[in-house]
């Protein structure tokens, strides 16, 4: 299976481990990723907050490049990139007036024929293959955190139930880990306010992680660099004057990589602020009942 790959800025910087782990699992899962040549900003954050037309044109440019490259599908692992590309595809198809403004800006033919996919949908489709190749992560309890952009708005994302999604849980089930039931899977992480309103981000993130912890999760699984950085980078601030959380935040691809017995370093597992060593240890240790009889 060949897929167009749109890494976006995060996967080349703060979420490098998302990029690493995605590329690491792609091989064993028979997925060929072809990066879009000369890709540019997806139109997220600054663009879509200031100029709607610019945000659509930026995303459409990347789609038109993919088209030129002969790709029929583009996968954008970052949830914000996915949302921008999917929004552009949606608006170019449904808002003719807008499309007419955008087309001349692209400087190349554009048929809007490229499908946009996110990493969860990709892995959900590969769940059977993952399960067949995985060494089950038995006993590991994780909380699947979707955030806002993966499934919303439903007419743009066209993916899973916007209020009660289950796709991440299906992938987790394929790895043999257990997805805990919890309530804040879709709550806001604070997203782009990570720098400007740290207090809010900490408050929102704390509510999310405390719930995950109370539900018995040993780690939180995400598929969005923004969610990841908020929950990982700000976790120590959330713990200030409170009970320690100590919840590693893993990308879904990292979890899949662990199940596929890939080298943790190749998955970028050491790059997190909250160490994933605990999780690794829990996995490495055999389940208690299988322990050999105590020495002596």
């Amino acid at each position: 299976m060949k897929l167009g790959y749109f890494p976006g800025c995060s996967l080349h910087s703060t979420a490098k481990e998302f990029d690493l782990s995605l590329k690491a699992v792609a091989g064993p899962l028979d997925v060929e990723l072809e990066e879009i040549h000369d890709w540019s900003c997806c139109g997220s954050s600054s663009a879509h907050a200031t100029d709607h037309l610019l945000s659509i044109a930026l995303a459409a440019r990347n789609l038109s490049l993919a088209e030129q490259q002969g790709l029929s599908q583009v996968m954008a692992p970052c949830a914000a990139c996915f949302s921008r590309l999917a929004t552009a595809r949606h608006e170019m198809a449904h808002d003719e007036e807008q499309a007419e403004l955008v087309r001349p800006m692209l400087a190349r033919p554009f048929k809007n024929a490229v499908e946009v996919q996110n990493v969860v949908a990709l892995l959900q489709g590969l769940a059977g293959r993952i399960k067949a190749k995985a060494t089950p992560l038995t006993g590991l309890k994780v909380a699947c955190y979707y955030g806002c952009l993966l499934v919303r708005p439903p007419e743009v994302a066209q993916f899973d139930d916007p209020e009660d999604p289950t796709s991440m849980e299906q992938v987790v089930a394929a790895t043999g880990a257990t997805a805990v039931r919890w309530s804040r899977r879709l709550d806001c992480c604070g997203a782009g306010f990570s720098l400007s309103r740290v207090g809010s981000v900490v408050r929102l993130g704390r509510a999310i992680l405390e719930d995950a912890k109370a539900s018995g999760a040993q780690a939180v699984v995400v598929a969005c660099p923004m969610c990841h950085s908020n929950l990982d980078l700000r976790q120590s601030a959330m713990e200030a004057r409170r009970a320690s959380l100590g919840l590693p935040i893993l990308f879904l691809t990292q979890l899949v990589g662990l199940a596929l017995k890939l080298d943790p370093a190749s998955l970028g597992l050491e790059r997190h602020f909250v160490s994933a060593v605990g999780v690794m240890r829990a996995l490495a240790a055999p389940a208690p009942q299988q322990l050999p009889a105590t020495r002596g």
Partner: protein, 672 residues
Amino acid sequence: MSRIGVLVCHCGENIGRTVDCASVARALGDLPGVAHAADYKYMCSDPGQLLVKQAIAEKKLDGVVVAACSPRMHEKTFRRACASAGMNAFLCEMANIREHCSWIHESRGDATEKAIALARAIVEKVKRNQPLSPIRIPIERRALVIGGGIAGIQAALDIAEGGREVVLVEKEPSIGGHMSQLSETFPTLDCSQCILTPRMVEAYQHPGIKLLAYSEVESVSGYIGNFEVKVRRKARSVDETRCNGCGECQAACPNKKIPSEFEQGLGKRSAIYVPFPQAVPNIPVIDRAHCALFRGRAKGLKKDACSKCKEACGRQAVDFDQQDTFTTVKVGAVVVATGYQLYSVGKQQPSDKLKGYGEYGYGTIPDVIDGLQFERLASASGPTGGKILRPSDGKEPKKIVFLQCIGSRDPAKGIEYCSKVCCMYVAKHTMLYRHKVHDGKAYVFYMDVRAAGKGYEEFARRAVEEEGAIYLRGRVSKLERTGNAIKVHGFDTLSGRPMVIDADMVVLATAMRPQPGIEALAQKLSVSCDGHGFINEAHPKLRPVETNTAGVFVAGACQAPRDIPDSVAMASGAASKVLGLFSNEELERDPTVAVVDETGCAGCFHCERVCPYGAVERKEIKDRKGVLLKVVATVNKGVCQGCGTCQATCPSKNVELQGFTDEQIFAAISAL
């Protein structure tokens, strides 16, 4: 040469403003075959009609064209006027120069020209009109009522009181419908059972009503005045003539753990059961899917696994070998009163059009229940004996949050309409709760409070002002189970603040939907449903209890969300329509029906296949010796609605619609 009279109406200013009516009359008067042409300000008025009558008498007219409004508005009026002047009514037609012309054009010159063309076309048609006489059909003066809820019971009783026989078909083991599940009813808080059960018994004992409970309509054929309905009488496994309803069989049944439908899953029942103690008829039925004996038989066990109910029965009424039987009834009219079901909140939905609320955890959080379940909790005959106790741990909830508009008014979930009854019953629920749990707190999340109805607004206000319900205008984004409580995450749009309430129980006011299977039933009856499956009435304002199939009427919540007073009023309306129909021995119908020229018919039966009403039948043509010559199509005049589909389909042009023959239509078109 024809002698047609053309009468042009100004309709006050409606037509006169844009159409020069005098010129229209002058232009038409010059046409060959037109013997008289005049215009008048209000042709439908008494003096206007007099003009028509005088023209017929004085000018010896053999046809009349009234150029005025739509024939749907006044065709009957003018045909009646013509008939009273001695002319066959079907020689009078209308040219619509109002809706089709003056109302939709601005240029006076163009509109006048168009009006002339429209009237000229109808003149050419009327020249070729033939006198027709109304069709007369005998009427079977017995009615079928489908559905034994409050609407069906009311309709059946009203028709029976009017002296006509009724067959009442109910698919459940007992009549009573949803109303029998309710605790107390708004806006008077009178006990639902107390007002309903006497009506149930009355219907059962009425000599004019034949109750077929635990039965379903299998097929319907025929037409107004002459329906033939096949009813499937589902096997109860209990002989109705022997059973005296003592209840010994239920006591003996070892399987008592089946979720009771009547208790909305909050209570249990046995495999042989009567849905509720006041059931009518009070005869049990064996739920074969849960009965050990039938499950064993289905698995092929040679020996019956259990027969405790049969052993317990002192009257040998239990009959394991009973089969479904069929009864055919002949009726002249049908009242559809199949009622509603509740929208299911969970993710599993019956069709792609509907979406559930995964975020409310209905089905996974036990203390999130729907409105009918709360009715059962509040009901004196319910699983808790009328105590408000929550399903998870049987404790008394001190804080209940009620959510309105669950499904309703939410296009994203597939239901745009308002379910109408929820605002009122939620107000009632808060009161019932406060009457039973004095220190309880009732919160209501609402979009609007729609309390239009006699005494309704007062009732809803009372819930807030006297009974202390706390109304919050806004929606709830999710329900979260934390320990023993349910965290309700909502938004109060009036204070502009998010709200989080720790509730002990949450009640969802879910949307009303038509019963499953309504579309199949509608098809059997040739009536149409709207996009949601509610039966379409013939006219939303002027014919609310009729359907577009003559002789089929509709009552209650199968037509749209209805409360009890509405359903009862509709049922009485439908009953009076039925009695009106039955007041004649014969039925008179418009003769604009299709007629087959049997000499030319080749018997291809394309017409039979395309007829939406099933009006085309096969007829054998035999010679004098009885030898079959050919089979031809023939149209049952009682069933035909005059749509003309057969006429358009017939490859050999041997079907004509009386009053709309090809000759007439082509003449009209050529004159345009």
